[in-house]
Chain length 502, copies 2
Amino acid sequence: MAATDDAYAALPAHARETHLLASTSALLAWDQETGMPSGAGDVRSRQLALLARLAHERATDPRVGEWLAVCAADPRCAADPDREPNVRCLRRDFDRATKLPPSLVAELAELESRSQQEWAVARARSDFRRFLPWLERMVALQQQKADCLRAPGQSRWDALADLYEPGMNARDLAALFGPLQRALVALRERLAGGSSPSAGFAREPVPEANQEALARAVLAAMGFDFERGRVDRSAHPFCTNTGGDVRLTTRYRPDGALDALGSAMHEGGHGLYEQGLEPVHLGTPLGEPVSLGIHESQSRFWENHVGRSAAFWQWCWPLVERHVGAAWSGRRPDDVFRAVNRVQPSLIRVEADEATYDLHVMVRFALERQLLAGELGAANLPEAWNALYRDHLGVTVPDDRHGCLQDVHWAAGLFGYFPTYTLGNLYAAQFAAAADRALGGLPGLIARGQFAALREWLRRHVHRHGRRHEPADLCRLVTGAPLSSAPFLDHLDHKLRTVYAS
Amino acid sequence: MAATDDAYAALPAHARETHLLASTSALLAWDQETGMPSGAGDVRSRQLALLARLAHERATDPRVGEWLAVCAADPRCAADPDREPNVRCLRRDFDRATKLPPSLVAELAELESRSQQEWAVARARSDFRRFLPWLERMVALQQQKADCLRAPGQSRWDALADLYEPGMNARDLAALFGPLQRALVALRERLAGGSSPSAGFAREPVPEANQEALARAVLAAMGFDFERGRVDRSAHPFCTNTGGDVRLTTRYRPDGALDALGSAMHEGGHGLYEQGLEPVHLGTPLGEPVSLGIHESQSRFWENHVGRSAAFWQWCWPLVERHVGAAWSGRRPDDVFRAVNRVQPSLIRVEADEATYDLHVMVRFALERQLLAGELGAANLPEAWNALYRDHLGVTVPDDRHGCLQDVHWAAGLFGYFPTYTLGNLYAAQFAAAADRALGGLPGLIARGQFAALREWLRRHVHRHGRRHEPADLCRLVTGAPLSSAPFLDHLDHKLRTVYAS
C-alpha cells in the first residue's frame, strides 16, 4: 500500500494549501464588506481574481488526478473510514474544477467583486438600470459556468445548485416546496384575519453600544469562541471563515435592537458550525461544512428554535434589563416572545418573520431558474419580481430597492443558492425535534441557559462530521428520517397557536 | 524593436501580479496587528508563508530573466526615460530574488509572523528568556539570508541593509553617524544643565474619542485621502499599503494625547508618500517607494518639521480647543510647542524627543551588526543593550520590556532597517530646508494651514518619482547637495534655542 500511502498523504497536504488561498480570499472579502475604503475596490477585485486563479490552478493540478487514481485503485482506501470520504469529496472537487476554464474562473472572481460594489451603489439609489449591465454580464457568465459543469440532460440551475447543496435538484425541491408554499400561504391568510401581537415597543431606540453588549453576551452564552472569532458590523450580516478564525457581522439601527440580536444569533449559529469542525481536518473535506442547507440549519436553529422561543426570553431577561433597560420598561419576557413571532408579510427577506420567510425564497427560486434558462431577460426582472411578491406574499413592491435589488446574492454570483435557506429551515426544525427528544426537552434547557448541552449535541451529531456524509444521509443519521417539511410546519403551528391565542 | 516591446510589455504586467500577492500579504499583516483574534495566529503564519512562496516563485520565474536580457540588449531601452528605471530596478529585484532559495523565503515568512506573536507575549511579560529561542532562530535565518545575498567581501549587515536603503553600507553610515552621535550627546549634556519646559499638563487625560477626532481632523488637513485610506489603532503605530488603499494606525492612551497626534502625523506622512505615488505605475518600480530612508523622511517631515513647529500649534489651536478642551485649559499654543520639544533622554525609542531619538537608533545599529556577524550571542543581548543605553543616553534600563524587547523589528526579521530612521531624520531636515527656500518660508504656510502647498511640493519632488532615482541621487536632485547631517543639526539648534531660551 506504499504507493497509495504516498498518494493519500499528498492529497490532503495539497488540499490544505489550496484552502489557505481560499481562506485568504475570505479575509479579503470580509475586509471589503467591513472596512475597505471605496477607492480600493478596483485593486481588491484584481487581488481576488488572482487568488481565485491560483486556487483553481492548484485545484486542477494534474497530479491530483493521478493521486486520486492511485487511491481509487486500492480497495483498502475505500474501506478506510477517513480516507473514503476525503477521496470521494476530493474526486468530486477535482472533477468540477477541471471542467471550468481558468479564464472563466478569474473573470467570474473579478466580476463578483466588482459587481457587488456596483450593486451596493445601485441599491442605495434604487437604480436598477445602473445595475442591469452587471446583472446581464453575471447571468451570461453563470450560464457559461453551468454549461461547463452540467451533465448531459442536467439543467443549468441543477448544475449550480449542486455546488451549494450536493444532491439537490429542482425537481425534488419543487416536490418539497410546492405543498410547503400552499401551507404557508394558507397560514398567512388565516393569521391575517386575527389580531397580531404588539411589536411597536421593540422599535424604541436602544443605543448601539448597548445592542452590541447584548449581542456579545448572548454569543458568549451560546459558546462562540472569541479567541477564534470576531464580531463586527456590516450593511448585511454574514459569517465567514478566514482559516484560523470565524468572523460574524451584525448591524445596529437605533430602532432595530431585536434585528441586531436575531442577526447575531443567526450568524453565531453559522459560527458555531465553523468552530465545531475538527481542527485536525482543517483544509480537507472532513474539516469542511457539508452543504449550505446544513449550514443554514445551524443558524436557524439558534435564531429561531432558541432565539424565538418563550424559554429564551425568560433566560435572557436579566440581560435585557441590563443592556436594553428603560427602552422596554414595563414589558415582560412574554411580550418580546410574542413580538418576535409576529407574522406580517413584508417586502424584505432578511426582515421576514419565520412563517413568511420561505415565501421570499420561493420567489427567488422561480426567478433564478428562469434567468439561467434564458426564459426571463434580466431587464424584465423587476416586473417578474413584483408580480410574484403580489402572488406569494400579497404585498406591493414600491421600488427596486425594496424589490429585486435587496439581496447581494446574484451580484455576488450566487445562483442556485437561495433554496438552501429554506432547506436550512426544514433541517433545523427536524434537528430541533430530534434534539428535543434526545435531551429531554429543549425549553427547559434553554430557560436555564444550558446552551452547552445544545451546542455539544449539534457538534457531535452535525459539526464534527464535516463532509463525511452526504446532506441527505446526515439528515437520516441525525433524525432517523429523510428530510420533510412536517416538523417545520408542526413547529410553526405549535408556536403560532400560543402567540396568536393570547 | 518588436521583441523588446513584447519583453518590455511582459515585465510590468508580471510585476503587477507579483505586487497583488505582496499587497494581499500586507492586508493579512495589517489584520494580524489590528484585529485578528489570538487563536488565528497559527493559520495566519501559514497563509503568509504560502503567499511569500508564491510571490517568490513569480519573482524568480526564468522568463523574467529572459525578458530582462532582451531589454538589456536593446540600447533604445536604456535611453527611454520610463523603461530605463523600470528595467534597472526589476533587474536588481530579480537578481536578489534568485539568490534566495524558495524554502528559506517560506521559512522566513512563517517565522516572521510567528515570532512577532511570540514577541508580543514576551514583551508584555518582560520575559526575554521566552523570546530568546525565537530570536536565535531569527538571527540564524537572517545570517543565511545575508550569506545568500552578499557579494564577495560584502558584510552580512550591508547585504541586508541594501534591501531597505539601496546603496547604503555600514562604512558610509558610520562616517555620517559618528560626528552626529558626538554632537547629539554633547547637546543632551548641555541641555541637561538648563531648565526644561513644562510638559506635565499634556498628560491630563483626554477621552479617546476626542483624541481620535483631533487626529482625523489634522490628517484631513494634511490631505490624507480617506477614500483611499483608513486610520485604525494598534499597539504600535504603522502604515501599510494594501494595494488599493493605505492604512495607518495610531494608539490612544488617556494621558497620551500628544503621542497619539504625533504618531498619526508621522504615519500620515508615510501615507501621503504612498498616496502620492503615480497610480498608473502601481505594482511596477516607478510606482514604488524608493527606500525606507526616503519613506521615513516623509513621516519625519510631517511629525517634526510641521507637527513640532510653533507655527503648527498656532494653526491647530482652534482644533485643540474643540477636541481637547478643558484638559489643557489656560494653556496657549506656545506651551504645547515647548512641551513637544522638551529634551529628556528616555528608555523607549518611539517616545523619544527629536534630539535624542537618533541615539536610540545608534544603539540598535551597533548591536544588529554584532548579532549578524556572530560577535554577540542573542543570549547576551540584554546586557549589551543596557550598557549602550547607559553610554549613549545616560539612562539605566530597569527591565527588558523597557530595553531590548521594546521593538518588534528583529522579531519581524528586519535587520539592517533601523538606520533608515536616522537617515529619514537627516533627509527630512534637508528637504525641509529646500522647501523653505522654494516656498518662501515654511512657518508662514504652516501657520495659515496651507498644507496643500507643502504636500504638492513633496509630491512633485519626491513621491511621484517612485524608484526612478537612487536615494542618494534623489537627495541631490531635491536639495542640490548630497546628504549631510548639517541641516538636521541646524534645525535642532535653531529650535531648541527658542524652546530653552524662554
